[in-house]
């Protein structure tokens, strides 16, 4: 194959599509890896849902006694036993993100079930956060990540369905973050903490910084619908998603801690991988084909009406 052939447009397209698929696969993999770690090493956040008298009443209907439900005090009850078993489901989903292929229907269905797991988990966190809506919404990127992967495999990486869901995922994550940053709901304390520790800002400066970040969170959500702006917006989302993900270990890890604090903080970045990998996916697939670049000057980009935005040509193998 000549040099020219290898750089030919279809090959380059294929490379980009492979890169986009890699982003989705990696995003789903890391998200599940992070949460698997949480479930195995720490504990899933389901206590808030299960350790309730109403849940016990439900269990009672199935003939489960109080001691069986909560344990005798010496042994774990059903609640703790089942919370720890959820880890295996997460591990299975982690493996599936690597093995799932276009034609493996059962694996795809199972991965969609993985999204279901993440939805339950996000709901538990939402309840734990005193039912603050952004807590659920900001997990949109993580909840939808496996579904985007499945849709991309099934319909093709450039198909409007995975693309649309990916946009929804990015918007959910950024709207959730932005709502907190702008104080529509009480800004989580660690937002200020991380800003102060990493950037050395005092409270007033941190507040301004978060406000600006919050405004940008909303602006990029709007920008994703504007063809001329969507790639820069996606790029911003990549950068900001990455920075906010790694902010946890950067702010918290220290040489003086056991394992440098990696077991406390690292997974916080890993499970947030969809926050920057989904925008990378969008950035890559929104790359205009070279032919179009040569034929269309920047000044003449036509703004498509919204319904047409998703009318993106299907990938060759679709």
């Amino acid at each position: 194959m000549s040099r020219n052939d290898s750089n030919s447009s279809p090959n380059r397209e294929l490379k980009h599509e492979n890169l986009a698929m890699l982003c989705l696969r990696l995003g789903a993999f890391l998200c599940f890896v992070g949460w698997t770690w949480v479930h195995f090493y720490w504990e899933g956040p389901y206590g808030i849902l299960l350790w309730q008298e109403s849940t016990y009443e439900l269990a009672e209907r199935f003939g489960i006694s109080w001691d069986e439900f909560v344990g005798t005090g010496v042994n774990d009850g059903l609640v703790q036993a089942w919370i720890s078993r959820v880890a295996w489901l997460y591990l299975a989903c982690t493996i599936l993100t690597l093995t799932v292929r276009k034609n493996s229907s059962m694996q795809m269905i199972a991965l969609v079930g993985g999204s279901g797991l993440l939805i339950v988990l996000s709901y538990a966190k939402y309840v734990g956060a005193q039912r603050q809506l952004p807590m659920f919404v900001e997990h949109g990127g993580q909840m939808l990540m496996p579904i985007i992967l499945v849709l991309a495999l099934r319909y093709g990486i450039r198909h409007r369905v995975p693309t649309g869901v990916a946009m929804l995922a990015v918007i959910a994550t950024f709207v959730g973050h932005g709502s907190y940053a702008l104080g529509f709901w009480p800004t989580p304390a660690n937002f200020f903490g991380m800003t102060t520790v990493i950037l050395g800002f005092e409270y007033e400066a941190a507040k301004t910084f978060l406000w600006v970040a919050g405004v940008l969170d909303f602006l990029i959500c709007v920008g994703l619908f504007v063809p001329a702006l969507r790639r820069p917006c996606a790029l911003y989302a990549v950068v900001w998603g990455l920075l906010t993900a790694i902010a946890r270990p950067v702010a918290g890890m220290s040489w003086s801690l056991i394992y440098f604090g990696a077991d406390q903080f690292l997974h916080e970045a890993v499970l947030r991988a969809p926050h920057f990998l989904i925008p990378i996916y969008l950035y890559v697939i929104w790359r205009r084909p070279p032919d179009e670049v040569s034929e269309t000057s920047d000044d003449s980009i036509e703004l498509l009406p919204l319904p047409q935005l998703y009318e993106i040509p299907l990938a060759p193998f679709d």
Binding site: E43, Q52, G73, V79, V127, F192, V197, Q264
Partner: protein, 618 residues
């Protein structure tokens, strides 16, 4: 095509479940709003009611009073005045400017005459007035009554919305001399001002006329647990990495509201993020209070101790090695407070008895956490960890025979603490919550040793989850089955400690809510009341007695110093003209005594079993 349909159905199902769950959760949330969580807001008040409440203390002839205002309008004056009634007229004694954020107006008046009561009023503008009484120092009373509270949840889900009128009535009935709120006066992590104003509306009626000590704890500072690490910034959810989760300015506002009326801090250097310190002492009615900050300097466990459970601060594994978590460098009270306690324990001017106040007790005082099965072997939020720091704290307090009064555990308990042997340290009383947000049980797996006859199996000598020696005498365990939303099925209530400066007896009482505690038919929680002697706070079972000392003066101060190491064993004010010091066997002691300070050596080689001695003091 078939697969596409399947996927579409799956996605639709997931979405439907989600939407359904959202709808249900919305409905549930609405329902919860009614019966679960309270909505906390700052009410609009008329200008004449702009002063919500006022807190005060008097110590060493200095009055500190903080008026708490509702937010004022832009055009309103920021000046707040303090007046006292003199000869039938109101006389202005101090003026201050309201501090924002927080709307606190702190006053400090020197040369305060504490030999008589003074009516006071705080004024803002021409309309707003708030009146109360600064009591005279009750040195004439034989018994000082200290009412203790903790955990002031306002949420209906656990009875937090039930009126506090029963508490107000009972405190008035017993005419408490001091009010002690050990922490979690405000549970809202973001709206301290609104929560504090509600606290003032609920308790202002008794606070305005009594010295009140409110110790801001974790929830007051806006986080679920607090290991302050000298003001570090915490970034880990749950804050077990140490430090404060909320910005320093928020914590400063909280502490200004709750503690700016305390006697001046003994060591006022600020910590990280400009956060102040308020550990100090207050002498009132010849009882010396050490007001401690057991959270502010404490090290966070995350990453410092090997993981032993599902959370960095929880130890689930009963087989773990307790010594493995007592790591070098882990701090509890910190050097500054230990230094203060060292001098406090030796200083007996105007003091007959000593008591230490802090957020929580110096042991793991519960086994089961939460509203179901949450058996934890050990919880590092408790002051049982770090063990070395816990032992240092108890060692410092027992040198002054100080009893420890605290809260936070959501479970009322009485413990006699041990360091080297069971019952060689101080006694502690952990009070029940005003409204109990989170249930806990003291339920050791093995029956305690050396129990009193007929006492429950959970009492007696135990090792807590950190292998600290503790002897339990009472635990107000809530009902074991789902405890419902009532106050008393959740072991809500409050404590009363009676310090009798004449007999030197300390009586601990633990009362449920919505009862009349002066009614003889009213019962306290099982295990209460309990009366101990002041001298039980340092009376190890292995000790013997030195020879009896008879003095020519009443109530002299006696100090024992190890003749070899020169370390002070203890300092205490004797009760009456005679005192028989307890001491470890096989050691020699220098005995010092004096009327108000131990400045005269009366024996250089006193040992257990040595002869009685008559001592003349000037």
């Amino acid at each position: 095509m078939k697969f596409q349909t399947l996927i579409t159905i799956c996605c639709a199902a997931v979405l439907a479940i989600n939407v359904d769950a959202q709808n249900k959760s919305k409905a549930k949330a609405k329902q919860k709003k009614r019966r679960g969580r309270a909505v906390l807001t700052i009410p609009e008040v008329a200008k004449k009611d702009i002063i919500c409440f006022a807190l005060w203390t008097v110590h060493d002839k200095t009055l500190k009073l903080t008026a708490q205002l509702y937010p004022t309008s832009d055009g309103d004056t920021k000046v707040v005045r303090l007046e006292i009634m003199k000869g039938g007229k109101w006389v202005e004694v101090a003026k201050t400017t309201v501090i924002e954020p927080g709307w606190t107006a702190p006053f400090r008046v020197k040369n305060w005459d504490d030999s008589k009561a003074h009516k006071y009023r705080v004024r803002h503008g021409e309309l707003a007035k708030y009146e109360g009484t600064i009591q005279k120092n009750p040195v004439h009373k034989d018994q000082i009554v200290i009412a203790g509270f903790t955990g002031n949840s306002i949420h209906p889900g656990h009875g937090g919305d039930i009126s506090r009128q029963d508490i107000i009535d009972n405190i008035k009935r017993v005419d408490a001399d001091v009010l002690f709120f050990s922490g979690d006066q405000v549970y809202d992590h973001f709206k301290h001002l609104a929560g504090w104003l509600k606290f003032g509306r609920d308790f202002g009626e008794i606070i305005k006329d009594r010295p009140t000590l409110c110790l801001p704890d974790d929830h007051d500072a806006g986080q679920p647990n607090l290991w302050g690490e000298s003001g570090k910034v915490s970034t880990l959810r749950g804050a077990s990495d140490g430090g404060y989760s909320r910005p320093g300015v928020y914590v400063q506002e909280v502490e200004r509201a709750q503690t700016s009326h305390f006697p001046d801090p003994v060591d006022p250097h600020t910590i990280g993020q400009g956060i102040g310190v308020w550990f100090t002492r207050m002498t009132w009615g010849n009882v010396d209070f050490a007001i401690l900050e057991d959270r502010k300097f404490k090290t966070g466990p995350a990453g410092r101790v090997p993981k032993q459970g599902p959370r960095p601060d929880h130890i689930r594994n009963p087989e773990y090695d307790p010594a493995s978590v007592d790591v070098d460098g882990a701090i509890l009270l910190g050097k500054r407070q230990l230094k203060f306690l060292d001098s406090w324990a030796q200083d007996w001017r105007n003091t007959d008895m000593k008591i230490a106040l802090s957020a929580t007790i110096f042991c793991g005082g519960a086994h089961i956490h939460g509203n179901a099965n949450g058996r934890l072997h050990a919880d590092m939020d408790s002051n049982g960890w770090p063990q070395s720091g816990r032992n240092r704290a108890i060692a410092a307090l027992r040198k002054g025979f100080a009893m420890h009064y605290a809260g936070d555990q959501h479970l009322a308990t009485i413990f006699h603490h041990g360091i080297d042997e069971h019952r060689d340290g101080i006694w502690s009383f952990c009070v029940p919550s005003i409204a109990n947000l989170y249930l806990r049980w003291w339920e050791p797996l093995k029956p305690g040793k050396n129990r009193e006859p007929g006492a429950p199996a959970y009492t007696g000598d135990h090792l807590d989850g950190f292998d600290n020696k503790v002897s339990n005498y009472a635990a107000a365990n809530p009902e074991k089955q789902p405890a419902g939303n009532l106050l008393n099925t959740r072991s809500a209530g409050f404590g009363i400690v009676r310090m009798n400066t004449k007999t030197r007896k300390i009586t601990m009482e633990c009362w449920p809510r919505n009862v009349d505690i002066t009614n003889p038919a009213t019962k306290q929680y099982k295990g209460w009341p309990r009366t101990i002697s002041q001298f039980d706070n340092y009376n190890p079972p292995s000790w013997g007695k030195l020879g009896k000392l008879t003095f020519n003066v009443e109530d002299p101060v006696v100090q024992l110093v190890d003749a070899k190491s020169k370390e002070i064993l203890y300092t205490v004010r004797a009760n009456g003209k005679s005192f028989t010091p307890g001491a470890p066997k096989g050691k020699a002691f220098i005995v010092k005594a004096g009327k108000d300070a131990p400045n005269k050596v009366i024996s250089r080689n006193a040992k257990v079993g040595s002869k009685a001695q008559k001592v003349t003091l000037n």
